[in-house]
Subunit: 457 residues, 4 copies
């Protein structure tokens, strides 16, 4: 590690800036998978002998074991993971190792490995998002009828249920999964066989390697195959939006955990305290989830900056793609785990939520809607009448339910007793039963549909 300033001779400087084994070793598994697929194809197309193929596969499997068991000798002298594996293979099996690189170049090899790595990261991410969604769905089912304020501008606007709020995030995270699935489908093409950039004159079978590696098809242009990094940017963009969604939920946990709101309480496991201020329950984990959004967006911008205006085909700048993606994948995985844990452990304070929802004429809209439906008033006129009723209540120092029917009639003579049916927050949420509305029945139905959907996966 540098102490701020790098003081070394030219050779060390060049090594330090050029070497990538420190981070691209994380693609070891993918590199070996890619090589195994390649060598089997070379054998099938008779580009190498069965003996050589067998020796190479044996050697690669040995290397895979060494890596899994932490015995593999990663060496900076061999610069990157590809050279490390190839050098080790030569040590293990001798000259046959030299045939592995037939009809392949480091350019298509690294593109293959990296696509496989991102694909694995997406698959893991999809599972983790599913777990977070399940945690939210469980909360939604448990608290389908708990009334809380629905906010606009952070001001209470209309009552909603806590379960409905949870499901709003389930919808967002489902779209995040959609983005990741689309990214996965789009990147799932094989660059292997593009060689350095022009394709090859060897009669290789790119469809075979693509299939072996689980790719849907070979990429159809060799220059594109080694030059493209849009798949990494798309992953980072989808990840950034996911991180933003997590940050929105984290922000709410932080605000709702304040003494002033008091809506929720984080478990001890996901907060830190103060030995002398027992009331202090710092939502550290939620703050970190919120803050780490910066890192994912930073990775996205970092890679976009790298790729902008970069001519084809391979340029060394593109080596910067991996650390950006690794940092984002790690951050997302950690934040998903932490947020899932926090949601699972979260306890809520229904009384504080209900009281907060009931304050401030939060059912004024319900009253206006009642006027429209029952008295056939135009919407805008109903709004004005409601405004006058609210002022009357305010003057009297009561909520809308605190007005007598007579007092209401003084403002609008056509009002009848049944108006009181719509003035409590509970009746309000119950009435919002149109598709997508916050009524407890809706919430329960939606949540159970989600539970089934998530289980099936």
């Amino acid at each position: 590690m540098w102490g701020g300033r790098f003081a070394a001779g030219p050779d060390e400087v060049m090594a330090a800036i050029n070497v990538s084994i420190g981070f691209d070793r994380r693609m070891a598994k993918q590199d070996i998978e890619g090589s195994l697929a390649h060598v089997r194809m070379l054998e099938a197309t008779r580009l190498i002998s069965a003996e050589d193929s067998s020796a190479i596969q044996g050697g690669l499997n040995t290397i895979a074991s060494e890596i899994r068991e932490g015995r593999f000798p990663f060496r900076e002298a061999y610069e990157d993971i590809h050279m490390n594996v190839e050098a080790r293979l030569a040590e293990l099996i001798g000259t046959a190792a030299g045939r592995l690189h037939t009809a392949r170049s480091r350019n298509d090899q690294v593109a293959t490995d990296f696509r496989l790595w991102v694909r694995d990261a997406i698959d893991a991410g999809l599972d983790q998002i599913g777990e977070l969604m399940s945690a939210l769905v469980d909360k939604a089912i448990a608290h389908a009828a708990v009334v809380m304020p629905g906010f606009t501008h952070m001001q209470s606007a209309q009552p909603v249920t806590f379960g409905h709020h949870c499901l709003a995030f389930v919808e967002m995270f489902e779209r995040d999964r959609g983005r990741l699935r689309d990214a996965r489908a789009r990147l799932n093409e094989s660059p292997l066989g593009a060689a350095a950039l022009a394709g090859t004159s060897f009669p290789i079978d790119r469809a075979m390697t693509a299939k072996t590696l689980g790719f849907d098809r070979p990429m159809r242009n060799s220059l594109d195959a080694v030059s493209a990094r849009d798949f990494a940017m798309e992953y980072l963009a989808a990840g950034s939006i996911l991180a933003i969604h997590m940050s929105r939920l984290a922000e709410e946990i932080i605000v709702w955990s304040t003494a002033q709101f008091g809506f929720v309480r984080l478990s001890d496991r996901f907060s830190t305290g103060s030995s002398i201020m027992p009331q202090k329950r710092n939502p550290d984990a939620a703050e970190l989830v919120r803050g780490k959004t910066g890192r994912v967006i930073g990775s996205l911008i970092g890679l976009m900056t790298v790729m902008k205006a970069l001519p084809l085909a391979y340029a060394k700048d593109m080596q910067e793609d991996k650390e950006a993606v690794f940092a984002a994948a790690d951050t997302l995985s950690l934040c998903l785990a932490a947020l899932t844990g926090m949601i699972g452990d979260l306890t809520i304070n229904p009384d504080r939520m209900h009281a907060s929802a009931s304050a401030g004429f939060a059912t004024a809209t319900d009253l206006a809607d009642w006027l429209v439906v029952q008295l056939k008033m135009p919407f805008r006129e109903a709004h004005h009448v409601t405004g006058r009723l609210v002022k009357a209540a305010e003057k009297k120092g009561v909520d809308l339910t605190g007005l007598t029917l007579a007092e209401m009639k003084a403002v609008e003579p056509q009002i009848v007793e049944s108006v009181f049916d719509v003035l409590t927050v509970d009746s309000s949420v119950a009435s919002r039963s149109s598709l997508g509305g916050t009524s407890p029945d809706n919430v329960r139905r939606e949540a159970e549909t989600w539970r089934d959907k998530l289980k099936l996966q």
Copy 2:
């Protein structure tokens, strides 16, 4: 316009920061479409009478005409496009106008309008990208066999064809279209009916309005419907990657237009000159396409910064979403048009390209591959032999084709006459006939497949 400093009273300041009609008037068409769908549904569900519905629809159609013909009185006093239309409607048809807002809120209205706008922008973008792809495909067909250097690190590595290079970008732009199509499919859900944030107690038919507006379905959570802006971020992310792809192509046009490269010549229409330096053909349009990437990425980051950690549901910060998207859509549309024009007009210099491709032992890889195939050498050994042959040629001051067979045999006795078949750049590109390789036959076949595909759309 401010002269750098805003000097005005509090009311003007508040008006200036709050008002959006200056930019959201661009959603006028979508706003009226949304209102027409809503009023027809209100009539169908008997929430308003046929007479009121008819009056409202008539008024809205009048407003649509006024806007189309530039006669609509946009007024800052009515803050945004929604209020402007509503106020005008009241002027035109009187109190019935007050019924239009039944079971609707500005929150679901603006979300609806904005989704419709982005959808239109995507549709227009898809067409434009298709035109750019067609221009590239035409060039690929015309120059399928023109040999140019294939670069890595901006150093000539192996010969490719110009057509192959064009098709690499066609592949990239097709994935850009895929991203936009996926974004379109994901955003194509109707928020209308979510009302302020909680849904509504009116027995509305959200499926009907969704269908009328061409949405695939209503959104299933009212809080999500008014809070979500991931569709806008996804559009900006897809647009940023598209812009980066355009910047890569623009960079190449700029470099290839230099006197030193001399590969291509921009038409007069897309370059600017100097009255006294006739050789100067400044690639202004390409530079602007390259530079304007910054604006699209800036819009993406701007909106991500807005949305990060924003609690649900609607917050006024979200008003910042529109200008970011409008700026990006305009920029992309303009850059696509300019790039399509540039490619269409581009003339190339095949001789310079060929000469450049032929310099510097660019077929050394072909020689190595020949040794592997013909002499069964392991790849790594073939590499070493090739290195020695290249050094011999370098010493003699000739290209690989300038060595005699005897001189070759001095390095590797097994070499035979047929080696010379692979040493020209033309034979090299012809030989890369594996799937995705640069051979002229491949390029022609691919380009024609693309031409058919693009025509069918």
Copy 3:
């Protein structure tokens, strides 16, 4: 305006992408200032005659009047502001106009104009920040002793005064002014005379034009003079940090305005309400200040993306610099004005603040400090004793002040009566009288120092 897709012929496309008069007209004042300085120098160095100089100056002054009075015929055909002015000058004074461009190029001209514009924007910004600081200082003086919770993790940690909180932002904004002043000093060098990029063979006097335009000196390298845009990036970076500081204050206004916090109340002028929910006081202006940070950061990233890897000297990409800077300057000016207005109008609720500060053992640290000072306990031990006392109070259901001396002695026998002097939030803030501490005396002294400093400017 494009409707999403740009459909026009090549010439319109080129015009649309190339033309800049739509935005660079905002530099008209600076362009004329620069030309006036240049022509006076040309006369002084006898490069043009006094007659020509006089005619040119007369023409430029006429043009300045035309622009001020809105009579100037801006024409797209003349592409940019420089050509518009030059063309108009020719119309007004004939061929003498052709001598103005002697020893000058559009490259050094635009660099000069843009530096002057940014300098003006900085000067205006410095004034506006000063006004915001004054508004905060006034609040600090008025509420120097109002106790509120000091938060960490949004959890009340220790009491502070509202005045102290205001002054924290005064410090931040002063550093923002420092950054802008440093940027101003660094950019205040004259590029004029660098000509196209190489300097000129005319015996010009660059020191003279620099002095006339208020620059500190001429730039010392002509290539740098026309290629550099770090001054614009530095301005945007300083502006982004300023915007972030404003967003932090805006966030607090929004949170403190919630019903749950109830610490502050925005004036009607800077909030919007709901006709039917009178309690709803939406902090729109604060939300917009918070959200518009995204636009400034977006401009910064946009320009950084443009400049990255751009070779010297002038490239057309750099035309993108102006709109980014203009958008940021406008946004900052508007946000500063809005925030200054909001702070000036803000009313606070000292009772809510005090009550909130008093809850939750907020003086536990004061108790621990008392143990260290009075009983000479090591800090860590004092912490443990305090923890036990807090638990005793919690068990009893009281605050620390609710424990009797006997109950305290049961935990730590050495405690004496005087401990109660440190247990109220008022005594707590009064005691923090070390330099920079929150004691009302400190706050008053600091605030008055600031008031004097701000008045002197």
Copy 4:
């Protein structure tokens, strides 16, 4: 390291997201410096005894040795560097360790450490930039008179000297140093003594600790002291602009190293080759310098995203500040070292540069200027005459020097023999002797001034 997905129990998740010792150990040196300054002040103000002070200092010095020698037991259980040091101190010296934290909190401690770290990074950066500037100045002196094309739009516009081009970057890097120096001066205030956020009631001497640590003064507001991270953002912004300047130079090295340009040749030490393509000299180091700009900008945006809208005072999100700064500082240090090495080793090809500069009527501007000066033509008319002369030369297939005087007179009868003095690229650069112009004399003078200035530092 996570394999893409984090699968662990809640406690591990919380530990993983919360722990910072993995990176903040890099502040160990600064943490101990800060503690030593603090303990000496506690002794001087009699807040602790001389014995305790001595024991604590002894313990801290021991810890410093342990860290230097790699013997310090960093433990994840103690979360961060501050707790690790404190826990170790207790092991070494017993209960006296508990007095170190008197009148201090982790909040002011971490702010102090981080400012010291950034200050050290700036100091190291200033030295390294100085070395890069020296390398450029050396090149400028060596090649003060080497003529190369001066480019606009990457098209040759006017001849300049290579030395002049080098000095353009010296000017940019000097401004980068200015930005870092300004950032250093602004951050060089001591937060120590702000305690948790409110200051302290202990009679501490903040001026003393500030002085001991080399800070210019204590910060004047305790809330600001623990909340501010603008110093880190300012460092990252200055670093981003520096990185962009490096990327511009790297881009030129890459372009100039192409076979097509052939202006420069990177040394073997800073390029990689191909065993079979000896002409291939991949400018890997330059590409990495260019690409790594993305990482620095990504860090800047990451931290800005974290800080935007963050309420005071400390929030856990701010823990994200360090890795962003460390990554940027490491990247800048490495890129500066690599670029300095590359420039030092760079060999240039004066013949290619000269030939390239001479092509394409690059002295047309000189001819126009001659017409203005010698024949008193207005600039615009001189331009037209030059255009006609260039066309004549083009028609004849020669450069401007290839026209006879008679041929010139046919276009403009007043032209005389002396015109030929200005038509070669060497005379052109020699003539640009105005301040800042490219003439070799200017370049030599400037370069030597720089050499003296850089030596003195």
